[in-house]
């Protein structure tokens, strides 16, 4: 079972995604796959805010900035669930991995294959995606390639997902499947 949660900045999508996994985990292990790399103090604060939100909810954190399928080797045997947060960081990390710029196609293929492996091994997977598509701005070619890649990844994830929920001002809007 896989749920994709999308939304804009500050929309409350993370809090929704956490609660979604907590409801579905039913006592199974809950892993939090963290993709964000700390580059500065602002990033550190962002991570701390997310940790505060998660604290006391029983998540086991795995830092996995690239190659998300490798998180499976860090998990214990038995039934388990995971929250992968988020596609925008993961896409940026994969696109600029090792100081190179990888093509959008190769990045999308890697990420989608990784997520397929996660989905196959977990009883429930919740993925936080991001709506980065609606500011109407024209950016440099690398950023445009990044936006297109995010779009192709999330479109593919919608096909893989059993449920797709958009969070708007904290309110869930179901686009695919049934809300839990």
């Amino acid at each position: 079972m896989m749920t994709l949660v999308i939304g804009g900045s500050g929309s409350g999508k993370s809090a929704y995604a956490e609660n979604c996994l907590i409801q579905m985990a039913e006592g199974k292990k809950k892993y939090y796959l963290a993709t964000m790399q700390v580059l500065d103090e602002e990033g550190q604060k962002r991570i701390e805010r997310h940790r505060r939100l998660r604290s006391g909810k029983g998540f086991l954190t795995i830092e996995q900035p690239t190659a998300v399928q490798n998180a499976l080797t860090k998990m214990e045997a038995g039934e388990k669930t995971a929250l992968l947060e988020c596609i925008s960081n993961l896409t940026a990390n994969e696109m600029f991995a090792g100081g190179k710029i990888w093509s959008g196609k190769s990045v999308a293929d890697r990420i989608i294959r990784g997520i397929e492996q996660l989905k196959a091994q977990l009883s429930h997977l919740v993925i936080v995606g991001n709506n980065v598509f609606e500011d109407g701005m024209l950016y440099d070619e690398t950023t445009m390639e990044y936006i297109r890649t995010m779009g192709s990844i999330q479109t593919a994830l919608v096909d893989l997902a059993d449920e797709v929920v958009e969070v708007v001002a904290g309110i869930p809007i179901v686009h695919k499947g049934q809300e839990v």
């Binding site: 939304g7 900045s9 500050g10 409350g12 602002e42 980065v132 500011d135 001002a169 309110i171």
Partner: protein, 131 residues
């Protein structure tokens, strides 16, 4: 309180005005009345705050606290319509201030949605009741 959200230029204000029937109203554009208590003299008039996100920007620029100010305003004047652009659906801005503005506006709208009796999302002039 009613909250109307949607993208830029989606006809949000018109959407609200068309549904007002004959009630008198006043539109505050990118600002909130500074002395809400004085406005209680005319309770029949509906107060509409348009371009709420612009007010948030100005408030942060002035070093104010939009989170506290809007709650304070709503306590004095609970029967109000707040219209705001949704600004969080884009690429993370390069400038720290823009990131802060975007994030705080998103969280504020989430807080307002929580308090609102009704939330509508307007796309191309079409409203969708989401709460």
């Amino acid at each position: 309180m009613k909250l109307i959200i949607g993208g830029y230029a989606q006809g949000k204000l018109n959407y609200v005005l068309k549904r007002l029937s004959s009630r008198s109203y006043q539109v505050w554009d990118g600002e909130i009345p500074e002395q809400p208590k004085q406005m209680k003299t005319d309770l029949d008039t509906l107060v509409i705050i348009n371009h709420f996100s612009c007010w948030v920007r100005k408030c942060i620029e002035k070093g104010g606290c939009p989170e506290e100010e809007i709650i304070c305003f709503l306590e004095c004047y609970p029967d109000v319509v707040i219209i705001s652009d949704e600004i969080g659906c884009g690429i993370v801005p390069m400038e720290a201030f823009e990131r802060e503005y975007r994030e705080r506006t998103g969280r504020l709208l989430t807080e307002l949605a929580e308090r609102a009796e009704e939330v509508e999302r307007v796309i191309c002039g079409i409203g969708q009741r989401i709460k």
